[in-house]
């Protein structure tokens, strides 16, 4: 089996990693780049715990992506979401509103919610449901997750408004 050296750009850092064609982006992020926040769940695209953001910011299932196709394409994982000193508003809202029980789904849900808000800062109920349908939580029944996402939206809208008025 021949391995090919690729450059994986994870959270802005470049990693030279040898990959075989059958290795998924998930395998390489966890086992070679050693960032284990991205979880391995169903490995068949149904649970969403392996969600990362691709170069266009969209949610991607790393269990169904071949690493070899991600040469020189930026990826954001849960480790790259928080700022220097503080958590991302979605992370804060998950903490504050208790959208976490066992925690296994949390990285995938946060990446899913962040991908949604990066693309659409003010999604309606239908858009939130549509996005979250691809990432499962078996503890909370998604109710607290949805509350947290709605609160994160409010916080981000308020932050943006504060920044605007500050600028004036």
């Amino acid at each position: 089996m021949t391995r090919q050296l690729i450059t994986l750009i994870v959270n802005g850092d470049r990693y030279q990693v040898p990959v075989a064609p059958h290795e998924t982006l998930l395998d390489v992020i966890r086992d070679q780049v050693a960032l284990t926040g991205t979880k391995r769940g169903c490995t068949s695209g149904a649970c969403g715990v392996c969600t990362v953001q691709g170069e266009d910011g969209r949610a991607v299932l790393s269990c169904l992506a071949l690493a070899i196709e991600w040469d020189n394409r930026p990826v954001t994982t849960i480790e790259g979401v928080a700022g220097e000193d503080e958590l991302h508003p979605v992370q804060k809202a998950f903490l504050e509103y208790g959208a976490v029980q066992c925690g296994a789904c949390t990285p995938g849900l946060i990446m899913t919610a962040k991908a949604l808000l990066d693309e659409n800062p003010d999604p309606d109920e239908e858009a939130i449901n549509e996005a979250l349908a691809g990432a499962l939580c078996r503890c909370t029944g998604h109710i607290k997750v949805k509350i947290a996402v709605r609160e994160a939206i409010k916080a981000m809208v308020a932050d943006a408004a504060a920044e605007d008025s500050h600028g004036v």
Binding site: M1, P21, H22, A59, L61, L66, T112, N129, G134
Partner: protein, 331 residues
């Protein structure tokens, strides 16, 4: 689940892709977004020697309308981009709805239209891990001689559940195929076969290049009945596209999906509407007539007769929505 070993080819051009496809034959699997193929590989349902990645080929990209008004959608287009494409949403609402019904948002961010058109049929008895499958006799699809769903079936009755397909057939779409030998076009409705294994007429060495939707001002609707709204295959789906007015319809195609090994056109139901126009009474009659067109239905998870009753309800819903929908603007 781990992927098996395979080689990986990413051709630089369509010509190179077609040349590779032409020589490698069935030992090669075409990789689009990978959201179905990689699962099937993990389940060991397919064992190709190599994957041919076609997603990045520029010839498979783009959504455009030519001078005659024919819509062309490249097979490599992502489902998310198509579901939200302003042209599709405005002019082909039923198609946009159908594409949005595929998988989850995550899946649509990766999956391609070409992949959905070539989606293998599925069955609860085969789309399982190797170990699970090994606990009972192999079926037609896994080199056995029995169908676990319809015991009397003499071929594989696995279900065709690609949501974009009924919507495209309702719009009378055509498929553009190319091989190193040349190009051909055929109605999408003629692409599928009533066999769960050899499910389409794609010849060895051929690749799906694009879908062509003929110019017509149609109202269109797609509905899907599934266990959950997101990320489930349908129990039944129904697409409809209507030309003309409610009182004097000129054309109507109703196409059911997820009920058999190929999409089913409901001729009887459409005939009733074309004769009588869209009225409360004709919609009821058309819904009742749907079962005559369905024939043998694969009832997985559902009691006998359930899907036929379900389709009756979907016909009613689609026709009522078509009746209310405004005709899309001319441009």
């Amino acid at each position: 689940m781990q992927l098996p070993l395979f080689e990986y080819h990413r051709p630089a051009s369509l010509d190179e892709a077609l040349a590779t496809l032409g020589t490698a034959g069935s030992s090669l699997a075409v990789l689009g977004g990978g959201t179905d193929l990689l699962i099937n590989l993990k389940l060991r349902l397919e064992r190709p020697r190599a994957l041919l990645s076609v997603r990045e080929l520029p010839e498979l990209a783009g959504v455009s309308v030519d001078a005659a008004g024919t819509l062309r959608i490249g097979a490599g287009e992502r489902l998310t981009d198509l579901a939200t494409h302003p042209l599709l949403v405005a002019r082909y609402p039923g198609l946009a709805q159908a594409i949005r019904a595929v998988g989850s948002r995550h899946v649509r961010n990766m999956a391609t239209l070409g992949g959905n058109l070539c989606l293998p049929t599925r069955c609860w008895y085969t789309n399982q891990s190797e170990g699970w499958r090994g606990s009972q006799l192999p079926c037609w699809k896994t080199e056995g001689q029995v169908c676990h769903v319809i015991k009397t079936a003499s071929n594989c009755r696995a279900i065709h559940s690609a949501d974009s397909v009924p919507a495209l057939i309702a719009l009378d779409a055509r498929l553009l195929l190319r091989s190193s030998q040349g190009e051909r076009e055929l109605p999408l409705a003629d692409f599928y076969r009533d066999d769960g294994i050899e499910n389409n007429v794609l010849a060895p060495g051929e690749l799906v290049i694009a879908v062509l939707v003929p110019p017509a001002r149609l109202r269109s609707v797609f509905v899907k009945a599934a266990a959950r709204t997101g990320l489930d295959y349908g129990y039944a789906t129904l697409a409809g596209a209507l030309g003309g007015s409610n009182r004097a319809p000129k054309s109507l195609l109703l196409v059911a999906g997820s009920v058999g090994t190929m999409p089913m056109v409901l001729h009887q139901s459409a005939r009733i509407i074309l004769a009588d126009g869209l009225t409360e009474a004709s919609i009821e009659a058309a819904a009742d007539a749907a079962r005559d067109d369905l024939g043998e239905v694969t009832n997985l998870f559902t009691p006998p007769g359930y899907k036929k009753r379900l389709v009756r309800g979907l016909v009613r819903r689609v026709l009522n929505e078509l009746r209310r929908q405004k005709l899309p603007a001319a441009d």
